[in-house]
């Protein structure tokens, strides 16, 4: 039995509908093998044999526990420290400029934080510029509870830490168990909360000095993107930075931003 045969087309459709409905991720037919491989674990864990039975289970679970697991399985949490470094260079430049003009308080939002590498990269950058948890706060949000748990733990493997410059690694990480754990002072800068980007309004007041919304829009279609971008920009202060993934663009979207450099925009 090949994996594809595991899913009945009608079941795949209702699964895709559920996922799109909950988190806006559009699963096309080309995603079927990915979906099957990812939910196979859940099927085994829940001892269900068909996707339909599993979906029934998800729907029957009023606590939403299994839905959470399903979303954990469906989301792609790829991330890394200093991913697409130009974005962090732009932020660094902006932060320095604001610091020299006397700004002390910073609020930065990593909107699809995954396991927190982006948020901690920002944290290191702020800390290197002398930020403390008293003045600065980084909000890391994601839909995946598993990813958020990893973010809160702040422990990463050596491979994951490869992109961190040795100096920073030495300064901000300490060996713990098999991996390295980020300093408590940096963990204090980061708040990891669950937030569904496709379900505005968001519970924050804003405004943020910068919003990282990277490599998540690639999973959304245009209407969802528009909603997301509008809701994010409402929380961005004028002059604040809005950063998207290198492969992404704001083509076809309505927005008041000006381009600073590719993937970096200013309100």
């Amino acid at each position: 039995m090949t994996i594809q045969e595991m899913i009945d087309p009608a079941d795949y459709r209702s699964l895709s509908e559920l996922v799109y409905d909950r988190i806006g991720i559009a699963l096309g037919p080309s995603r079927q093998s990915m979906v099957s491989s990812r939910i196979a674990k859940r099927l085994r864990a829940t001892q269900t044999t068909t996707v339909r039975a599993y979906l029934d289970l998800v729907k029957a679970d009023k606590q939403g526990e299994e839905l959470m697991h399903l979303l954990d399985a469906i989301t792609t949490n790829t991330t890394s420290f200093f991913r697409e470094p130009a974005a962090f260079a732009a932020l660094d430049e902006d932060v320095r400029a604001r610091l020299s003009s006397g700004q002390r308080q910073f609020r930065i939002w990593s909107a699809a934080a995954s396991t927190g590498m982006e948020a901690y990269t920002i944290a290191m950058l702020l800390a290197e510029n002398g930020a403390t948890a008293r003045d600065c706060a980084i909000l890391a949000t994601d839909i995946s509870t598993r990813a958020l748990a990893a973010c809160r733990a702040g422990t990463y493997t050596a491979e994951a830490l490869a992109p961190v410059p040795p100096k920073m690694l030495a300064r901000w990480f300490a060996r713990e168990g098999d991996g390295m754990r980020i300093h408590a002072s940096l963990r204090a800068l980061v708040t990891a909360n669950r937030l569904n980007l496709v379900k505005p309004p968001y519970p924050m007041r804003g405004p943020f000095d910068a919003i990282f919304c990277r490599n998540v829009m690639i999973y959304f279609d245009l209407p969802v993107r528009q909603r997301l971008v509008s809701a994010c920009l409402a929380l961005l202060r004028p002059g604040g930075l809005f950063l998207i993934g290198a492969a992404e663009s704001l083509y076809g979207l309505d927005h008041p931003l000006s381009t600073v450099r590719p993937s970096v925009y200013r309100r």
Partner: protein, 596 residues
């Protein structure tokens, strides 16, 4: 080498500027030709001035003539006034004369004018002379008769006549000058008009030429620019086409990788599942084997103890059987004895029979010999004694056999009883065999348990390795997935770019309206072929609508991502319908957001 567009535009600018300057120059020249400063115009103006200057002359001469006529009859006061007036008139005449001289541009006129002037001068000198004559005449002298009435009456009258004559001449001369000048004016005017017309038409042709030059140079430079941009756009086009194709390739590749990684992850997942099953069955085995071991050990123990009881039972049985055997031996012995007894009885009986037969025969034969009868009778008596003895012993033997048989009966009953318990002799043997087997089983089970433990350890390690492999593969698959999504995004950018370039080309070649020609990929749903090219082959091509495998959202709002036809019913759906706002909303956002 392509000359820079900017240079071309600069050249175009320079040409245009030069042409415009040229045009401006010729306009200026033409203007010069027809303005007040042109010689013709100057002459014309001089003529006009001449005419103006000439204008007061007839009035002046008439007035001076009149003054001369009034002078003789005037009172001295009046004469003074008239004299003053004649002086002013002379001055006016002179001024007019000066203006005329000034205005006279050509000789003819000048000659005519000097004639007129001379005549005018003559009139004035005549008048002056006449006035002087009158002044010199006595006051009571006869008044000068009215001019023309009695010219010959006095010299004064003749002087007046001369004045009249001179004035008439002067007038004629002035009229002549006026006529000449007017003729000249008319001539010049027509000359000027024709010059203006000429200039106008030459200006027209010049400006037409200029416009032609500008248009031509514009067209030349413009078309060369367009050609170059067109060429660049062509190259751009092939570049973007290549990029778009490559993007499709990359996207398809990424999708294949993602799919491969997913399948790998899936089969690994299956492996994990299988291994887990194996390890659980293995540990189950081990547990079973251990259990078997324990059971076998126990069984061997119990069966050893069972053996013991069995042995005892067997011993008992054996004893019983021995007893039985003894009993049977006894039975057999007694039976043998009985048989011997029976045989001897038989023998005896036969002998008795024979003897008896012989005795009878003998006795019969011995009638006479009766003596033999006695011997046989003796013999029979011995035999009878022996028979009695034998009978006695046989009876005893039979009694004993009966007793033995009775014993066998009881023993076999008890053996049976025992063997119901400890089975019969055979079963005891197989029981003992079984005990042996059980022991072997126990030992084997122990070995199996150990092996299973080892195996379970191995499987655990394999499991760990597979789990690690699974993690890595999952990460790989996720990375590939992300790459696939990104490359799809890039693909749509590449398509957008292609459309923009197409629009540029259309713009350059003057085809259809460029923007209509290139609607945005992202603005408008566009069929992307990736889904087609990389759609998992399980979705049979025969399947009438691949849309079945799509979530409705995609069918509704983003066919762009996987590009399929939109059905009518679905088109009517709105995102808000697809994403209903529910009570679960609160669960979407969790945590303390107070700092933000």
């Amino acid at each position: 080498m392509v000359i820079r567009i900017r240079t071309r535009i600069a050249v175009l600018g320079i040409i245009s500027a030069a042409v415009v300057a040229l045009l401006a120059g010729s306009v200026w020249c033409a203007f010069q030709r027809i303005t007040v400063l042109s010689p013709l115009a100057l002459e014309h103006q001089a003529d006009l001035r001449l005419v103006t200057a000439l204008a007061p002359q007839p009035a002046l001469t008439s007035e001076i003539c009149l003054l001369a006529h009034q002078y003789r009859d005037a009172t001295p006061d009046q004469r003074r006034l008239l004299q003053d007036r004649s002086i002013t008139m002379l001055a006016e005449f002179k001024a007019s004369w000066d203006r005329m001289i000034e205005a006279a541009p050509n000789h003819d006129q000048r000659d005519q004018r000097s004639l007129a002037l001379d005549k005018g001068g003559e009139v004035f000198s005549l008048v002056a002379a006449y006035l002087a004559t009158i002044d010199a005449a006595p006051a009571n002298a006869a008044p000068v008769p009215a001019p023309g009435t009695a010219p010959t009456l006095a010299p004064a009258a003749s002087a007046l006549q001369a004045i009249d004559q001179a004035v008439a001449d002067e007038r004629a001369l002035i009229d002549q000058v006026g006529a000449t000048t007017n003729a000249l004016l008319t001539l010049r005017e027509s000359q000027m008009r024709s010059q203006v017309e000429e200039t106008g038409s030459s200006l027209l042709t010049e400006s037409l030429i200029c416009i032609g030059i500008i248009v031509a140079s514009n067209w030349l430079v413009g078309s060369s620019i367009v050609r170059h941009i067109g060429r660049a756009a062509g190259r751009l086009r092939s570049g973007t086409d290549q990029v778009a194709t490559a993007a499709v390739e990359v996207s398809a590749g990424a999708q294949r990788i993602a799919q491969g990684a997913s399948e790998q992850a899936a089969s690994l997942e299956q492996t994990t599942a299988a291994l887990e099953e194996l390890s659980s069955s293995c540990s189950q085995n081990a547990a079973n084997a251990r259990q078997a071991n324990v059971l076998a050990t126990e069984a061997s123990k119990t069966s050893q103890s069972g053996e013991r009881t069995a042995r005892k039972a067997a011993a008992d049985a054996a004893a019983k059987l021995k007893e039985l055997g003894e009993a049977i031996t006894a039975i057999r012995t007694s039976y043998d004895k009985t048989t011997q007894v029976v045989a001897s009885i038989d023998d005896i009986a036969i002998q008795i029979n024979l003897l008896a037969l012989n005795a009878a025969v003998e006795a019969a034969r011995a009638g006479e010999a009766g003596l033999g009868f006695a011997v046989v009778a003796d013999e029979v008596r011995n035999l009878a004694a022996r028979s009695t003895e034998e009978a006695k012993s046989t009876a005893a033997l039979i009694k004993e056999a009966r007793a033995n048989t009775e014993r066998v009966q009881t023993v076999s009953a008890s053996v049976q009883e025992h063997l119901v318990h400890a089975l019969d002799r055979e079963v005891v043997g197989s029981f003992q065999q079984m005990v042996g087997v059980v022991l072997k089983v126990s030992r084997l089970a122990g070995e199996v348990a150990n092996a299973s433990d080892e195996q379970a350890k191995g499987i655990f390690q394999i499991n760990q390795a597979v789990a690690k492999m699974d993690k890595v593969t999952q990460e790989n698959a996720a990375g590939a997935e992300e790459a696939a999504a990104s490359s799809e995004e890039m693909q749509s950018h590449a398509q957008e770019l292609t459309l923009v370039v197409t629009a540029l080309q259309a713009l350059l070649s003057g085809g259809q309206s460029a923007l209509e020609a290139a609607p945005s990929v992202l603005r408008k749903p566009l069929a992307v072929s990736v889904a087609e090219t990389t759609r998992p082959n399980h979705s049979a091509p025969a399947s009438p609508s691949p849309i079945l495998a799509l979530p409705p959202c995609q069918r509704t709002v983003t066919p762009s991502r996987n590009g399929h036809a939109i059905t009518q019913a679905e088109r009517q759906l709105k995102p808000s319908q697809v994403i209903p706002l529910t009570d679960e909303e609160a669960a979407d956002h969790q945590g303390d957001f107070s700092r933000f």
